[in-house]
Symmetry: C2
Subunit: 347 residues, 2 copies
Amino acid sequence: MLIALFPGDGIGPEIVAQAKRVLDALAIPGLTYEDGLVGGAAYKAVGHPLPPETLETAKRADAILFGAVGDPDCDSLERHLRPEQAILGLRKELGLFSNLRPAKVFPELAHESALKPEVAGSIDLLIVRETNGDVYFGEKGFRTTADGLREGYDIMSYNEAEVRRIAHAGFQAARARRGKLCSVDKANVLETSQLWRDVVIEVSADYPDVALTHMYVDNAAMQLVRNPGQFDVIVTGNLFGDILSDQASMCVGSIGMLASATLNGSGQGLYEPIHGSAPDIAGQGKANPLATILSAAMMLRYSLNLPEQADRIETAVAKALANGARSPDLGGTMNTVEMGDAVLAVL
Amino acid sequence: MLIALFPGDGIGPEIVAQAKRVLDALAIPGLTYEDGLVGGAAYKAVGHPLPPETLETAKRADAILFGAVGDPDCDSLERHLRPEQAILGLRKELGLFSNLRPAKVFPELAHESALKPEVAGSIDLLIVRETNGDVYFGEKGFRTTADGLREGYDIMSYNEAEVRRIAHAGFQAARARRGKLCSVDKANVLETSQLWRDVVIEVSADYPDVALTHMYVDNAAMQLVRNPGQFDVIVTGNLFGDILSDQASMCVGSIGMLASATLNGSGQGLYEPIHGSAPDIAGQGKANPLATILSAAMMLRYSLNLPEQADRIETAVAKALANGARSPDLGGTMNTVEMGDAVLAVL
Ligand SMILES: CC(C)[C@H](C(=O)O)[C@@H](O)C(=O)O
Ligand SMILES: CC(C)[C@H](C(=O)O)[C@@H](O)C(=O)O
């Protein structure tokens, strides 16, 4: 089985290296690896954030372990050359439409959140975000109004097939958890949301065991602060999912701990920490590799069908934390390699 | 000067009545009032959430004091007949494009927030939200794809004139406060946001005394949880403003305390509490009228040019709180009229 390793920018190489050490320690037979350039690193080397060779590696791979992209040197490039196009391009080219972002507080870290510990401690939710459609990928551009004014526009849309497949992903995730699915939209204003809601209701007929609710996105943003413990699985579109999943991760507090998976219909997936490339601390050994290590665990579970090995990693991370492993973002002094060591020691 | 009183649905009539008592107590010469039906109440009475007579009253008025709209009886109506169309229609018909939502914690109530008291206590921000454009008012509808699939679509757009006027509103607000403006967009994905950012930067040339920053909306949703004290004024579009302003208000905790204003270019404004119609407690005297009373204060300041009278109301509300006035949402037992009494007693 082929794993594509795309470390990317900033702290990406440091954290992916630790995840690779953990994978190596599991000595899983038949795993092979192939490196690829993405993001600002790829732009600087070959002039494009998602070079053809990288895309080709990604397509052949069973899974992609991704670090992070984002490089201040690239801020003034045209949009199609900027580092984040690597992630948007991979999602689109590989049909990675189902972005899974679990948010759960490790008890030892509940005090890291800006939320009261009892509120933060109640968080155990999964956001299922659609990542192939919405206003991200519709027609967009600049035009001139009848009055000669510059205007920017972007078409938001979803068709029923796009909504149906992500709705199924949401219901199946809810079925495997606590059986509650909250679909988030803005159906009081948007036709895209009305179609979304209609189709989610249609799909719900296949899941009588899952309790479906609907919430407007503005209310969801409130409820994620007020009472995040009420949520089990949230399913939503690309734009609302972008906002709410980042908000939820910050409610957990320790953003250096949160993993994500983005899957297509054939089990291929891209796995990455939800934090960014942190250029300010790149190369200093200060980055927390645990989110990337936990992303590797998600990879074993979802793309490589190795749930026991995934459990082993997750248990080891929890133990390392319980043993006091703390990088600077968690209020400690351990460097990136020492954090990797702490996980390996209990694996 | 004419004030339109639109109590609306649910707790609307109860809370607007208390704000009216406070205005009466100020005995401001030359104020006249005219009532109007909006929302579900208007639909039930005359078949439309924003009847022509109401719109006509609104247009003649110097300011509108608005309660809340929203009625579960209307949930299955077609969208153009639902209560919230009253507020969208008033914004559009009167050109009310600049929605101001201050979020600040009253020290006595800092513990009400789900955020840690020291984080909640640091909040003192103003969201300036554009409310006449964006994906709210673009072309929208249902269509069939080439493959025969149902599709919903909504066009997001802003032109330079729309961005310029709200940018000026943002810079002016920042100038009158702590001199910091954060413009929130999603310019890494949306052309609408790129135009937004370009125009905000152009307008900034007129405000060398204001420090302008830009933030992506997903990051803003994180920062509002992590460190809301970093913000002074946030300026953003209609959709992002809808989400972020509700999130910010929940960070404050006591949503029954938060007022808002929506202004057009001629000083006309609509003033309303940011909470909803709360049908579950309507008619029971449990509603907290303070957000509506504070909205009346904003009305005196922004539309009627009576800043001293506005100060009097705001000081009275703060004193009433300091004296221990607490409705059920604030952990107390005082009813709606008693809360009004508590403000009147110290006015
Ligand atoms: C980098 C950016 C284009 C991307 C997105 O908006 O999807 C990121 O915020 C994410 O959530 O993965
Ligand atoms: C009721 C709804 C249409 C409205 C909006 O989305 O603008 C509301 O959420 C608000 O923020 O005033």
